[in-house]
């Protein structure tokens, strides 16, 4: 984790506290720590070496800004260079070609091609109002074509009718033909998973490429991929030629070093990140987020955006209005709890926050989890509307009733009331901070500690 990296770096620089500039020796020592951090994040070795050589060049002789420790300075240089290497953000699909624009999806088995195809189709339909046709060329994995057909139905996107026994090349030709005749803007060709060393299947996809002449050829790869990322990206790019990458399962807890490896060896942009099993869980690539993950810094932007997406706007506005007036009752707390549950499991949220590594462990030992949130919600729901608006009413006998009603104890009720009091106090102070601040402090207050060290 980031703490680990900056911790190691702090040790390295312990004795150099008063230095004004980074010497080669300092940097060399620091780079050893960076190297291990990157390797542990699954960045491929040749990429790590190259990366470190470049960072070194940049770091040596750098003046250490006052009020910043040398360790922080090095981390900043590493982070900036990482973001730079990962490339610019949000490179969209090239839709400028004459329709139908063909997108060819390829990758190893189980990397998430079919799901990504459907997600991409949905994105182009919703965001760009494109008429999309999905076609599965996977005649090998049992029921793969049916899988895409089902996803197409779910996303309300047309899929090419399945013809049993047809070869991938023929399916591609038929898809193109249908795309032209039926006026589709985009044709997405989902292909069978294949190993980059399976020459027969690589030849097949080359033929498909020649038939379909895709505008975009996207390599779909799993964020959990290890050192082999370099080999496979090189092989797919070298033999077929890719225009971009989709990184899937970014919602897992892999550090995602494969992103850097593949970007570095292909020079092609990472276009999208697969963030979940739902069909709308495809997001544009943000290099700073992945950089943070690789270094273990957490994904703050991701959290804020996710929160903004999920929290209904009017509910947030209502809450904001109340906070302005310095009012935050138990209904509002219940509302916040519900929003938190919607944001997915707590681990996921905490994983996105910087500096949460240690706190996460503490939380685990304190057994704070989603079920606790449900329990807190149950406590509030066991109160009368009057009590929720005016918690001061809740005295001993009411507490007992609420505890019984929610299947908890009076202590639990007390704890919740105290939390609410703390939050309400905080809310009063931060009327001016606006929504983002509210969200962050809201989460922090619920855990009884500030997640930002």
């Amino acid at each position: 984790m980031f703490e680990a990296l900056s911790g190691k770096l702090s040790d390295v620089f312990e004795r150099l506290k008063r230095k004004a500039a980074l010497t080669e020796e300092d940097v060399n020592e620091a780079m050893r720590a960076v190297r291990v951090a990157l390797l542990e994040a699954d960045v491929a070795l040749p990429v790590v070496k190259d990366f470190i050589a470049k960072v070194k060049e940049r770091a040596i002789g750098q003046e250490v800004i006052r009020s910043v420790t040398p360790a922080q300075m090095v981390v900043k240089i590493v982070h900036d260079h990482l973001v730079e290497t990962l490339g610019s953000q949000g490179v969209e699909i090239d839709l400028a070609a004459t329709p139908p624009v063909v997108i060819l999806m390829l990758g190893l088995q189980g990397s998430g091609k079919t799901t990504s195809s459907a997600k991409l189709g949905l994105r182009l339909t919703k965001l760009y109002k494109k008429k999309v046709l999905l076609a599965s060329l996977d005649i090998y994995r049992p029921a793969a074509q049916e899988q895409l057909a089902i996803l197409g139905r779910q996303a309300e996107i047309a899929t090419l009718p399945i013809v049993a026994g047809e070869k991938p090349q023929a399916i591609a030709a038929r898809a193109l033909d249908a795309g032209r005749r039926e006026g589709f803007d985009v044709v997405i060709l989902d292909t069978a998973g294949r190993l980059h060393i399976d020459q027969a299947l690589m030849d097949e996809i080359a033929q498909v490429r020649d038939i379909a002449k895709p505008t975009e050829t996207l390599l779909v790869a799993d964020a959990m991929t290890g050192q082999d990322a370099v080999t496979l990206a090189q092989a797919f790019h070298g033999q077929i030629g890719i225009t971009g990458l989709i990184l899937t399962r970014v919602d897992g807890d892999a550090r995602g070093g494969a992103a850097l490896s593949m970007r570095a060896v292909t020079g092609r942009p990472i276009k999208f990140l697969g963030q979940g099993e739902k069909l709308d869980a495809l997001e544009p690539f943000h290099p700073d987020r992945i950089a943070g993950r690789i270094l273990g810094m957490g994904d703050v932007v991701g959290l804020v955006e996710k929160a903004a997406q999920i929290i209904e706007k009017d509910e947030a506005e209502k809450l904001a209005a109340k906070v302005m007036k310095g009012k935050f009752d138990l209904d509002d707390l219940a509302g916040q709890l519900r929003q938190m549950k919607k944001m997915g499991d707590l681990d996921g949220i905490l994983g996105m926050l910087p500096g949460m590594g240690k706190i996460k462990d503490k939380l685990a030992s304190a057994k704070i989890d989603d079920r606790q949130i449900s329990r807190q919600e149950a406590i509030i729901l066991s109160m009368t509307p009057k009590e929720r608006r005016n918690p001061d009413l809740i005295k001993a006998s009411r507490k007992q009733r609420i505890a019984r009603g929610s299947g908890t104890s009076v202590q639990d009720v007390n704890r919740l009331l105290k939390q609410h009091q703390q939050m309400a106090g905080m809310m009063k102070q931060m009327g001016k901070l606006g929504q983002k601040g509210l969200m962050r402090h809201g989460l922090g207050a619920l855990f009884g500690k500030n997640p930002h060290p």
């Binding site: 291990v36 390797l39 542990e40 994040a41 699954d42 491929a44 070795l45 040749p46 070496k49 190259d50 050589a53 190893l108 088995q109 189980g110 990397s111 998430g112 090998y140 994995r141 049992p142 029921a143 793969a144 049916e146 899988q147 895409l148 057909a149 089902i150 996803l151 779910q154 190993l195 980059h196 060393i197 799993d222 959990m224 991929t225 290890g226 050192q227 082999d228 080999t231 496979l232 092989a235 399962r249 919602d251 897992g252 807890d253 892999a254 550090r255 070093g257 494969a258 099993e277 997915g344 499991d345 707590l346 681990d347 996921g348 994983g351 989890d369 989603d370």
Partner: protein, 304 residues
């Protein structure tokens, strides 16, 4: 063989570009000095063994042969031996007990590792050994996962118990157990939906499947196979750790070893968790499931 040495040399040459040109010449003599050991450590890291395991192995090598002139092949054989010794204890096949009627095997893992395909292969394998095998299409989430398993069932000639998409996986497991018992099946293989181990709700759902089975018989499921993808890097450690914390995993299957990924993370897994590796997947065909052979795996890691 020369490929490895040239790669090693190339790697070392790059990292020592600032040194005098004579360094390259020194390396040709294959002296096992600190720098060469570093190169060997890197080779191991490149096979996904992880920094710690790679360092430990390079250390062992250093202690044994430091500063002696050695042949490239001998060095690799030494390392393969050291690795095989580490993983030999986990190379154990899945025990089969025909008296259980049925032996219940739950197959779990993250998305896309090859659970359904592995079940298809297992069905084929045990069917050919004369066992009555029943399959349960417990992945009720992913589109067409049920159909996929049904095809495998047809191929292997095994009944497949399924419900419509979106059905409760635990309920299906219960029904499947009931039916397998009635039919006198020897083996019941239950598929599950792929789930990322850091998703608490999905892991709770998996725990529910196990709970429902345990209610029928506390010994159930007899086996929980965790399927891992050989392409996966260090995250495999977290996968095993989390899945094992949630449900009593009894063994591992490592898939997709027919590619260029060597699955080196398995060495660290063997040391950390000591879970048996029941089988490896080496292709998409029904018979592309092999017993895990420690020496062969280690040789492959070192390119022997």
């Amino acid at each position: 063989m020369s490929g490895w040495l040239s790669r090693l040399k190339a790697g070392l040459a790059k990292s020592s570009s600032r040194l005098a040109q004579g360094v390259g010449d020194l390396l040709v003599k294959r002296k096992l000095d600190a720098e060469t050991l570093d190169g060997i450590e890197e080779l191991l890291i490149g096979a996904d063994l992880g920094v710690a395991t790679a360092a430990a192995l390079a250390g062992e090598l250093g202690k044994a042969r430091f500063d002696k002139e050695v042949e490239d092949r001998a060095v690799r054989a030494f390392l393969a031996q050291a690795i095989a010794a580490r993983i030999a204890p986990v190379a154990r096949p899945m025990p089969i007990d025909r008296a259980l009627k049925p032996q219940v095997v739950l197959v779990v893992g993250v998305n896309g590792t090859g659970k359904t395909t592995t079940i298809g292969k297992l069905a084929w394998l045990y069917k050919s050994q004369g066992l009555a095998v029943t399959l349960a299409a417990g992945d009720t989430f992913r589109a067409a996962a049920v159909e996929q398993l049904q095809r495998w069932g047809e191929r292997a000639g095994c009944p497949v118990i399924a419900r419509q998409a979106g059905a409760d996986a635990a309920g299906l497991a219960f029904d499947a157990l009931d039916q397998a018992r009635k039919e006198g099946a020897d083996l019941l293989l239950i598929d599950t939906a792929g789930r990322l181990h850091n998703k608490a709700d999905l892991m709770a759902e998996l725990q529910k499947v196990v709970r429902v089975l345990k209610k029928q018989d506390p010994a159930l499921p007899h086996e929980i196979l965790l399927v891992l993808d050989a392409t996966t890097g260090q995250n495999a450690l977290k996968q095993v750790e989390t899945f094992r914390a949630m449900v009593p995993v009894t063994g591992l299957v490592l898939t997709k070893l027919d590619g260029t990924a060597k699955g080196g993370v398995l060495v660290a897994l063997a040391e950390s968790f000591a879970l048996p590796v029941y089988a490896i997947g080496v292709g998409e065909g029904a018979d592309d499931l092999q017993p895990f052979d420690a020496q062969a795996f280690a040789d492959n890691l070192l390119g022997l």
